[in-house]
Subunit: 284 residues, 2 copies
């Protein structure tokens, strides 16, 4: 119980004005900005990606332009490794035609960043938290933060050299590959349809495998949600992570008061194991 | 580099005779015991499960009996939650007919357990390691160990009360739900076909969802591999985790010498993010 209060106090201390914000606007859901949302149509079903211009403005700008120009339509996921990543795009040397993007990772937290503290026991970073639905890591002293490679994030692919990506992207589909934090740019996350990403044909697997790995699942179409005809839009609301309710959820996931937990687990939270919920808006 | 040596030394110190064992038998692959291997046939493809009688002898005995009796044939995965678990079996109150199983979790390490040390920075347990292909946690002083809820493990489902499971099982399909360690019995792990598990129809999802969640993917057949006719057997070799090569792999995943890592990540390893490889034996 001591631990609980310690962490709660820490969360309160670190989350700036999160609580007062939550009281001002009690709604625990937010609607997505259609100009910052991508509809990725796969043969296995629709996938919706929320972009993050706060951490990766130039990536969001370039990817949005390519999406609007229809550059991804008919392309494929050509590198899909189970429990790791699904990588898709043009799979060509686009680097001569498109501007190469410089890594966009670090963001200094300010008082207007209403994050919710998750843990100071993470293996890879001093602190973990949620900021606007995204899992972040941050350092207490410098207030430097970055987006974490949790399942379902969208990042820019590159060659071995830094800053060599321009268009192709990957979606993480397994245990968080946190060793990629800060050396790859995360520019979005899947808020709907991860199960459709999980159904993509795997292109690499175990030795001696007889499955057909040459079948690359297609990207039917990729559009900015604002460009999708109104009748065909899929409207999503995402759980706000800057509310008192969300902080209660974090504590509940740590303390596990449900009788199912007849022995309580260690009171720690893996930020990548906390779901941030979404829901479809049925009328529009 | 200091860290590297420290961890290497620790690994050597803790892994008992692992190194001398590795030198005696240089092969880095082991074949599965067909009597301790399950072939789970799904509509999406075959799945192979290696059982763990060392940690969960009574679970392995009961599940093997049910498999041999054909009890799972034609049953389904009735609770599939993306990034969490795929739960399958009879989905009936079998508890009146079948013996309830008591939790089987803790195992005291002995000198004959040739484990490979992974980390002493884990969030949930003092130490993590691999033992016979399975991720384990253990305490330094007591030498008590248990199997961890990494992606692809197979555990016994239960009600809220402890020791209330008998037949139905779950496969973890997302970020490791480590808070289930030691309160659920892990009795096996998927060594082939996780992509087929990932393709199972999800039965629960986000609010307002229009997808048909009532479709439960079927278990076509579940057999002990030793009962499968020879011509139809799928023979698998699994990477040994008690060899010098495997320990080198662990260090390589931590130190990341490849030029892709132009900045080195923190020198830590998430045990659930380390793949233990499998390969098909093509001739038999």
């Amino acid at each position: 119980l001591m631990k609980y209060y310690l962490i709660l106090t820490l969360a309160l201390a670190l989350s700036f004005a999160a609580h007062s914000k939550a009281e001002d606007t009690p709604d625990q859901w937010r609607t997505l900005d259609l100009d910052k949302t991508i509809l990725l149509e796969l043969e296995t079903g629709p996938v919706i990606i929320e972009l993050n211009p706060q951490f990766a403005p130039k990536h969001v700008e370039q990817i949005s332009k390519l999406v609007t120009a229809g550059e991804y339509d008919g392309q494929s996921f050509y590198r899909v490794i189970d429990n790791f990543v699904a990588q898709g795009g043009m799979n060509v040397e686009t680097t001569t035609k498109l501007p190469l993007l410089k890594l966009e990772s670090d963001h200094q937290l300010t008082a207007s960043d209403h994050f919710s503290m998750v843990s100071n026991k993470d293996m890879f970073v001093e602190n973990t938290a949620f900021l606007n639905g995204f899992a972040i890591g941050f350092e207490t002293k410098s207030r430097m933060s970055w987006l974490l490679h949790c399942p379902g994030i969208v990042g820019l692919s590159r060659q071995n050299e830094p800053d060599t990506g321009s268009s192709d992207f990957y979606i993480t589909i397994g245990q968080a590959p946190r060793y990629l934090d800060r050396i790859m740019t995360v520019f979005g996350r899947v808020v709907f349809g991860m199960e459709h990403v999980q159904k993509l044909n795997r292109t690499e697997s175990i030795e001696g495998d007889t499955l057909d790995r040459s079948i690359h699942s297609k990207i039917i179409k990729m559009q900015m949600m604002s460009d999708v005809p109104k009748a065909k839009r899929i409207l999503i609301e995402v759980e706000r992570t800057d509310t008192e309710q969300f902080e209660k959820k974090l504590i509940a996931r740590m303390t596990r008061e449900h009788p199912f937990f007849y022995i309580k687990p260690p009171q720690v939270l893996d930020v990548c194991q906390v779901p941030v919920n979404s829901r479809l808006v049925t009328s529009h």
